[in-house]
Structures are given as C-alpha cells and as structure tokens.
C-alpha cells in the first residue's frame, strides 16, 4: 500500500511540522531509553550468570587445626570424585599475599589483618558439565569431614544472580508496558494533532476523490517513522552512555566480575526499532479510526 506518493506526502507532512514530530520522537526516545537500559542490565546479568554458573569451582575452607595428613586425604578423596579436574591447596599465608597482589595500594593496611582472616582452602576445579545437584552432593559430603570448616560452591551467588535477573526481566516487562502506553499516547496524539492541523487538506483530498487508504497512508507512515526514530534515538543515547560508563569502570569492574560489560545484542536493537515502527503505525491507525468523512 505504501507508494512513492505516500512516502512523499508523509515526508512533506513531517517537514512542515518538524517541531511537532521532533518533540514526539524525543518523548518516545526517553521511554525507549528506560526499556533499553533495563534490557542492558538484564543482558549483562545473564552474561554474569553464565560466567559464574559455568565457572566450575568450589572452595573448601579448612579448619585451622587441620593437619597436613587430613588435608592430603581430603584432597585425594576429592580427586577420585568424577568431574573433578584439579585440586589446589592454598594456605592462609598464600591467600593473604594473593589478595594483596590484587589490591596493591592497600596491601600495607591489609597486612595488619590477622592470619585467621585468611583460612587455608582447597580450591577445586570441576568440569563445566557438572550439574548443580552433583556439586551440592559433593559439598554435603565434604561438610561432614571433621577438618572441613565450610564449603563454598558459589551456588548462592548464582541463585542470587538468578533472582536479580528475574527481577530485571519483570522490570523490563513492566517498562515494555510503559513504552507501549507511551508510544500509543504520544504517537496517537501527535497524529491527531497533525490531522487537526491538516483538516482542510484531508477534506480537499476526500472531495477530489481520494480513497481512505490514500488519505491515511502518510499518517500511518509518519507514526511508524516516529516510533522507529524514537527507538533509534534511544539506542544511540544508550550506546553513548554505555561507552562513557564502561570507559570509567573498566579495570576494576572487569577483574571484579571476571567479564567485560557488553552492549545490547544486535537482535535486541533490531527488535526495539521494529517494535517501535510497528507500535507507531498501530497507534496512528488507532487515532485515524474516526477520520472525518466528508
């Protein structure tokens, strides 16, 4: 249905009322920035979850009074468990040094910490295929060994992350609804206003024999362009903010999390823009329903 003439007339309409359209696109961009930002957070939490879920490791905290033989027997037992790749003993002394190496500037003050602050551990590397239940089974058995103080499988962290992600997804869904409302309201009222201003134009078109489709076409196209441009503007703004924030955080953030923050994947961006265009067209159609019949 979109002919060259429709596109030309839509362009003419948008150029004549560019202020109105720019305002509408800006409002839409603000709404889309919120949605995009929450999607960005979810994307990165997902990546984090992925990274940690498949980190494939556990730390066995040993009691201070554990003897070298005890430790060795635990180590040997662990190595016999299927899925365990490697077991490495880290003494409290060593842990303190490692920590200090990561936090050089504060090393002096940390050196004052008591040795007990860094218990000896057995760092267990397991194959990534090892399931959560297998890992927690292993942890439960280890817990019963007398020389073992505690076992950290980092599952609690993944669970916490999962909860955070489902929270993020719920927030995104809510924001998507807000965006839906915003697009319908903003595009709807912009088109209604444009229609009001071009009242004579519509009347003349109908009087010289234009079909409804011919009259409505440009408005639907204008709505769709507004929606798409709003989404594009939001993505651009978000990308700029993302670059700035990442530039600031870089080193610390990456070592802390063990991965690079990433921007929205291309399909999410395409999805945002397409849904903007579709919603815009839909909103325009909605506001054209009661088009004056002359």
């Amino acid at each position: 249905m979109i002919s060259l003439s429709t596109a030309l007339r839509a362009r003419r309409g948008m150029m004549r009322e560019w202020r109105l359209h720019a305002l509408s696109i800006f409002s839409l961009a603000v709404a889309f920035v919120c949605l995009g930002a929450s999607l960005l957070v979810v994307t990165n939490l997902r990546a984090l979850e992925d990274r940690w879920a498949h980190a494939g490791r556990a730390s066995v905290y040993l009691k201070d009074n554990a003897s070298a033989e005890d430790i060795e027997s635990v180590k040997q037992a662990l190595l016999k468990v299927s899925g365990v790749k490697q077991v490495r003993y880290v003494s409290g002394q060593q842990a303190r040094l490692d920590f200090g190496a990561n936090q050089q500037e504060r090393a002096s003050s940390l050196a004052a910490l008591p040795a007990e602050a860094f218990p000896s551990t057995l760092e267990v590397d397991v194959v990534p295929e090892m399931t959560d239940t297998e890992l927690s089974d292993m942890a439960a058995k280890l817990q019963k060994v007398p020389s073992v103080e505690d076992v950290e499988t980092y599952r609690a962290w993944t669970e916490r992350l999962s909860r955070l992600i489902s929270g993020g997804v719920a927030a995104s869904a809510l924001l998507a609804l807000v965006v839906l409302g915003a697009v319908l309201a903003v595009v709807g009222s912009t088109i209604r206003l444009a229609l009001q201003r071009r009242r004579t134009e519509v009347e003349v078109l109908k009087l010289v024999g234009a079909t409804d489709g011919f009259v409505k076409g440009p408005y639907i196209l204008e709505g769709s362009v507004q929606g798409a441009m709003g989404a594009v503007g939001a993505t651009g703004l978000l990308a700029a903010l993302f670059t700035i924030v990442r530039g600031r955080l870089d080193g610390e953030f990456v070592t802390l999390l063990g991965l690079q923050p990433q921007f929205l994947p291309w399909y999410a961006v395409v999805g945002l823009v397409c849904s903007g265009a579709l919603l815009g067209a839909f909103a325009a159609m909605g506001s054209l329903r009661k088009l004056v019949l002359v």
């Binding site: 004579t200 009087l207 024999g209 409804d212």
Partner: protein
C-alpha cells in the same frame, strides 16, 4: 492552448465509467426524481426537485441566495444525501453508493466549490495536482497537465505561489483549474465567477464553454444575470424548493424574481 478532445485525450471519467452499463451512454447523465432535502426539520431546502440533464448539456442553475443551489450540487458529489427521492448519475442511484465507491464517483465530477476548498499551505501547483495524484498518475504526466490547466485559467507561472496568499479571484481560478484538470465527464461550478470582475467572469465562462465544447457536461450555478445573457443557454431556476426550466426569452423583472411568461 491544449485541446481537451482528440483520441489521445485522457478521460478518467470514461475509464471509471466502465463500471456503468453500456446503455448508460444513451441515458441522461443526471436525473433528479422528486428530491427532498432539509437541514432542519420544518424548513426543507429542496421540495420535490425533478430535473433531467442530458450528456453534453450546459445548464445554468440560478435562484436567489439560499434557494439551494449549493445544496443541489452537494447532493451530486455526495457531500450530502437526499432525504427522499433519487438522483441518478448515468443511471446509478448516488444515494445508494457504498462508502468506498464515493471516491470513484467524485473522480468523475470536477467541482468548483463556492468557498474554493483550497489548501492555503500548499502551492498553486499542488492544489491543482492533487486531483491527478489521487488517480495515481505518473508525476511527469501530472506536471504537464497541471501546467496546461494553469495556463487555461490565466495563472501560468504562478504554480509556486502559496494558494493562501492569492486574491479571491485568483483562488477561484485555481479551484477552476483543479476542477478541469482531470477532464471529468461532469463539471459542477458553484458561483465560479463570484469574485471576478465582469471581464474575467466572461473569460472564465468562456473557459467552461470551451470545456463543454469538448463534450463535458457543465452545471453552472450562479446568480450573475449578465452571464445568463451572454449566450442563449438552458437556465434552471430554483424557487420554493423546486426546479423550473426557464423558457427562452425570459424577462427579468426585479432583483430576485423571474417572471415566467404565461
């Protein structure tokens, strides 16, 4: 000056006319059968209008202000609908056209509206071209045809001016150009000379006569008596809600009344 006839002449009216039956050619182009129309109950404007207009006729419709000339024309392009009676356009009842058929009816009728109906923000060119754009004609054809139409109404070279800044008479001529540019089968002109000086009025009348010569049916609503006297033409008077044919050789008595010879 361009010719509106000839084998290569573009006639959307006849193309769309294919929708009508063959024998429509021999039927009157317009038939009013006891048409009633009122805007407010109790004061009908048209009270049983009977009128037949043949293909290729040139008819003046006259009558005092408020007699219902514009109303009569509005019923033809379905801006209003009859309360009772029928209006047949090439044998088809206009009132029974479905909504999506109305655009095609309007493409067969060129109208010069009493209030022009121009888009002030558009250029003269755009205002005329719109009648061809709705037909989906190629841009190049539109350009040449709009150029011709503007030349015919004496506005050659004014295409880029905004319609809103033109004088009343100039706007009226733009409206006329838009009505004739599509070469419709029927032209309805509602006071198309109302804002023109006498000489220009006669020129524009000449333009409609020229279009008529090419085979177009013209219904010309006016209360400008001088125009009625330029040439002997069929004159229909709207009076008391009825249409009466004025016999040739009428004498015009007072300002508002035609005395029919009896």
């Amino acid at each position: 000056m361009s010719r509106f006839d000839g084998p290569s002449s573009f006639r959307p009216a006849l193309r769309a006319g294919a929708r009508f039956s063959r024998e429509a050619k021999d039927r009157p182009i317009l038939t009013f059968e006891s048409v009633y129309k009122s805007y407010r109950s109790g004061s009908p404007v048209l009270r049983g209008v009977h009128l037949t207009i043949e293909r290729g006729e040139f008819v003046f419709v006259t009558g005092s202000s408020g007699a219902g000339k514009s109303t009569l024309l509005r019923l033809l392009y379905r801006s209003e609908t009859v309360d009772d009676g029928r209006i047949l356009f090439l044998g088809k009842d206009i009132a029974r056209l479905k909504d999506d058929a109305i655009p095609f009816l309007r493409r067969n009728i060129g109208v010069v509206f009493q209030d022009f109906k121009l888009v002030p923000a558009w250029s003269v060119y755009e205002n005329v071209a719109v009648a061809l754009e709705v037909l989906g004609l190629p841009a190049r054809l539109i350009r040449t045809r709009v150029g011709e139409a503007l030349e015919r109404v004496g506005l050659a070279g004014r295409g880029n001016d905004l319609a809103g800044v033109l004088s009343g008479g100039e706007q009226q001529r733009v409206a006329t150009a838009r009505a004739i540019v599509g070469e419709p089968a029927l032209i309805l002109a509602d006071e198309p000379t109302g804002n023109l000086d006498p000489q220009l009025a006669i020129d524009i009348l000449g333009l409609f006569e020229e279009v008529h010569e090419a085979g177009t049916t013209v219904v010309f609503a006016t209360h400008d008596r001088t125009l009625l006297e330029v040439r002997p033409r069929r004159v229909v008077v709207l009076d008391e809600g009825k249409a009466l044919d004025v016999p040739q050789g009428i004498t015009i008595e007072s300002d508002d009344h035609y005395r029919l010879p009896n």
